[in-house]
């Protein structure tokens, strides 16, 4: 069984899995696209499956325009990214991964 393990500087690759910088034993998400939205938007993402994603938004009313929190009203299907702006947000950032949910 061949594979690659990368440890942090000064540490052995025989360290515990959670301490490795990289291990081909595990699946690693690959960032496909990062995009900012400032209004409700439905947009084709260009993949033919629903991709993993992380969505962040700022809350201008409560936290400030440069403070971001997770959980914006974003959904994906096999064709589109759909962004529904939270009422107090001025921008939503969507990090799409090339890896599918399904």
């Amino acid at each position: 069984m061949l594979g690659i393990k990368i440890s942090k500087n000064g540490e052995s690759v025989n360290t515990s899995d959670d301490n490795l910088a990289f291990s081909s034993d595990f699946f690693t998400p690959k960032i496909y696209k990062i995009k900012k939205y400032t209004s409700n938007t439905t947009e084709a993402h260009g993949l033919d499956y629903a991709p993993m994603f992380i969505a962040l938004y700022n809350n201008a009313l409560l936290a400030g325009t440069d403070v971001y929190t997770i959980g914006a009203s974003v959904s994906v299907d096999s064709a589109n990214v759909k962004v529904f702006m939270p009422s107090s947000a001025t921008e939503v950032w969507v990090i799409l991964f090339a890896d599918g949910i399904e």
């Binding site: 061949l2 594979g3 690659i4 393990k5 990368i6 440890s7 942090k8 500087n9 000064g10 690759v13 899995d17 959670d18 301490n19 490795l20 910088a21 990289f22 291990s23 034993d25 595990f26 699946f27 690693t28 998400p29 690959k30 629903a50 993993m52 994603f53 992380i54 969505a55 997770i70 959980g71 009203s73 974003v74 959904s75 994906v76 299907d77 096999s78 759909k82 949910i101 399904e102």
Partner: protein
């Protein structure tokens, strides 16, 4: 011959195990010291960044029904035993069919539907079991509704990992 090949492979693997690796992003044309310019960044200068490592994927469905006289939560716990001995990072998605036909939303999430409201969040039973909680609160007389879930469990801890 096989013995020689095994030895060669062994040496190669040993080299792989101890090597330093930096993979430049395709849209970058020059080397730099900025980790943001790389897809993998392991540097002899001591700068090394752990990449998220997914260890298991779990998927399934739950069905929500009206509880009592309606407007009461129907709670489904999805427990994932991992045995890591610490609380790992969890990334999870849910598809509430009462919200829309087939759209995945990131957990945590609250959303209204046609027949009630829905929420989902991530927690941990203990250091060896992660839990995703799916809740549907249906109005009296509503039909059963379904939700699909997909849970990615990482081997990386959710805290005490500020490397």
């Amino acid at each position: 011959m096989k013995g020689i090949m095994r030895t060669v492979f062994g040496v190669l693997i040993l080299l792989l195990l101890i090597m330093v690796l930096k993979c430049l992003r395709s849209d970058k044309t020059e080397n730099s010291d900025e980790p943001n310019d790389y897809t993998i960044f392991v540097d002899t200068g001591g700068k090394t960044y752990n990449m998220p490592k997914i260890t298991t994927e779990t998927s399934g469905s739950v069905t929500f029904t009206v509880v009592g006289g309606g407007a009461n939560p129907d709670i489904h716990n999805i427990d994932i035993y991992h045995g890591l001995g610490y609380k790992p990072q969890v990334v999870a998605y849910v598809n509430f069919y009462d919200y829309t036909s087939h759209e995945w939303m990131m957990i945590p999430r609250w959303t209204p539907g046609t027949n009630g409201t829905y929420e989902a969040y991530i927690t941990h039973v203990d250091d060896n079991t992660a839990r995703v909680v799916l809740i549907g609160t249906l109005a009296l007389g509503s039909p059963d509704t379904t939700a699909d879930y997909k849970i990615f469990l990482l081997v990386d801890p959710q805290k005490d990992a500020w490397y």
